[in-house]
């Protein structure tokens, strides 16, 4: 069973030999970037560089997937925001939104551009997916991600205003989120056309550290459902923070699997959702994988498996400065310990 078969079988809930070790979020490493002689700021704007860099995590460490893009601004940019890739930064700085589309409550009445599928970097992403697929697609599953409607809305307008309006003018926000969902459906479908095996929907801004479970159910869930239902392949719903109170609602959104981070008590979630549910997670990609010792990496992987994750998967993007020996330790531990289970 190779990595691709293992991951696809997992999504289909068929029997596999061990839990896979993969991600649906960014996982490129500085080791990979340096090996290719690229610069972090450059790989966001070049399909070939993006695909080649994304393939290195599999090629160098045996990580069981290939994922593009690397940043979180693709959809907002296609919608009309201006992004900053920090072209002159020495170290690693992820692109951010420089200029928002909505500047106040009165400009919230926007619609999806008709040519969204060909705007911004969407064509570049499709090309990167094709290249990545051609390169390592026989060996590993190739994934991509889109934001969730609320998280995208938080990029398109001031998050501060969005949060307050979610409370004061929920109907106005609901309308905007529905437009965001329509845009995300278009993007996800383009990625599927390019050949991705699975799509992760990252609704990071709607964590239960920020919004109440009630607001989550009334306001966040309906547009999220719309996006996830439109994905015809496998889908994963990722939400950051303390998600124990909303894991059932996350499942209701209809993804193939849910992804949770280190603040989720997975043993508890497993009890709640049953043995059949696909729960991916849930180690701290910075404090364990980047700044932890190899021993900490190994013991954390064992804990994830013991708690009952369906796949060992990071709580967020893997931070590129991850030491290579920790990447190796992570994958080795999942293979050996996961194989015994």
């Amino acid at each position: 069973m190779n990595s691709r078969e293992r991951v696809l079988k997992l999504f289909k809930k068929e029997a596999i030999d061990r839990v896979p070790c993969f991600s649906g979020m960014g996982n490129i490493t500085e080791t990979g970037i340096n090996k290719l002689g690229y610069r972090f700021a450059g790989i966001h704007l070049d399909a070939k560089q993006m695909a080649e860099t994304a393939a290195t995590t599999y090629k160098l460490f045996g990580y069981e997937c290939g994922v593009v893009p690397v940043d979180l601004c693709v959809e907002a940019e296609a919608m009309g925001c201006i992004i900053n890739v920090y072209p002159h930064a020495e170290g690693i700085l992820y692109p951010t939104i420089k200029e928002k589309l909505i500047h106040g409550e009165d400009d919230m009445d926007i619609s999806v551009p008709k040519d969204l599928a060909t705007r911004g970097r969407i064509p570049l992403l499709k090309e990167a997916i094709r290249l990545l697929k051609a390169d390592i697609g026989d060996n590993v599953a190739v994934g991509s991600y889109v934001l969730g409607p609320f998280t995208l809305a938080g990029q398109i307008m001031e998050l501060n205003d969005l949060l307050k309006l979610s409370f004061k003018k929920a109907d106005k926000v609901a309308k905007l989120l529905d437009v965001m969902a329509d845009a995300l459906v278009i993007v996800a479908k383009e990625y599927e056309k390019a050949g991705v095996d699975y799509i992760t929907v990252r609704e990071m801004g709607a964590t239960s550290d920020v919004l109440s479970p009630r607001v989550f159910k009334n306001l966040i869930l309906p547009p999220l459902q719309k996006v996830i239902r439109a994905i015809s392949g496998f889908s994963v719903l990722h939400i950051c923070g303390k998600t124990n109170d909303i894991v059932t609602a996350m499942m209701e959104a209809g993804p193939t699997a849910i992804s949770v981070e280190q603040k989720n008590d997975v043993a508890e979630s497993r009890k709640k959702l049953g043995s059949d549910a696909l729960i991916f997670g849930n180690f701290d990609p910075y404090n364990v994988l980047v700044s932890g010792t190899e021993d900490l990496v190994r013991s954390t992987m064992r804990k994830c498996i013991d708690d009952g994750v369906s796949a060992v998967w990071p709580g967020c993007d893997i931070w590129p400065t991850v030491p290579p020996q920790n990447m190796t330790a992570m994958i080795d531990e999942v293979k050996t310990y996961g194989g015994k289970k």
């Binding site: 920090y86 700085l93 992820y94 307050k164 910075y286």
Partner: protein
């Protein structure tokens, strides 16, 4: 001058105004406090801040979430804007200035703004650099303003990693400056490892930490003066 009962009534109006995110009530309460000659500092602390403390408790109890806190903060500022010009010399045992901002690569400033609010309330001079702030700007601003305190905020793990560089640079130029880091991905362990003097996951902890740090700094200076 208002009597005790009236004073209590006004402070209570300010307090519940904050808790119930009622900007009008806070404005009204603040105006009453001013026109009836109450002590503005007392009105801020026994009214507005007392309300914010309760908001913090409601947040911890998961009755309030971030949208509510933001609305409560708006209400607090509505009262504070009226009371502040009437404040006499703050007597908190501390007096300081602070440089604050969200580090480069991060455009999230909600947490930073809540912390800033606490400094505003405590009478600090606040140099707010905003968000997505290049690392060297923190170093330059600290030198320029000779602030005792620098606060670095980050919400994304991906931007937090710029923090140790700033801490190192500021400490190299000005070892007595206290540095506080904050934001969801930070932790006490990281603060210790990077040489930061304080750490706060949220706004209410940030104020406590900040006051502790400035008091400590004053003590150091007093000791130095005594030795001379």
């Amino acid at each position: 001058m208002a009597d005790e009962a009236r004073k209590k009534e006004i402070y209570e109006k300010l307090r519940t105004g904050v808790i119930q995110y009622d900007e009008d009530a806070c404005r009204e309460g603040a105006q009453e406090a001013v026109s009836e000659g109450l002590d503005a500092n007392e009105a801020i602390f026994d009214g507005l801040v007392s309300g914010m403390e309760e908001v913090g408790r409601l947040f911890e109890a998961q009755e309030y979430f971030v949208p509510e806190i933001l609305m409560c903060a708006d209400a607090l500022y509505a009262g504070l804007d009226i009371l502040k010009p009437h404040c006499k010399q703050m007597d908190l045992g501390v007096k300081g200035s602070v440089v604050i901002g969200t580090v480069e690569g991060d455009v999230h400033d909600i947490g930073k703004n809540l912390v800033k609010m606490m400094f505003d309330v405590a009478g600090f001079t606040v140099y707010d650099l905003g968000r997505d702030v290049p690392l060297d700007k923190f170093v330059d601003e600290q030198l320029k303003t000779d602030s005792e305190l620098v606060c670095l905020s980050a919400m994304m793990t991906t931007s937090m990693v710029g923090m140790p560089k700033v801490i190192e640079k500021i400490k190299a130029k000005n070892p007595n400056c206290m540095i506080m880091i904050g934001g969801a991905p930070t932790s006490k362990e990281l603060a210790d490892k990077w040489g930061a003097d304080g750490y706060a996951e949220d706004a209410s902890n940030a104020l406590k930490e900040a006051i502790k740090m400035v008091a400590f700094l004053k003590k150091l200076r007093d000791e130095k003066i005594q030795k001379k």
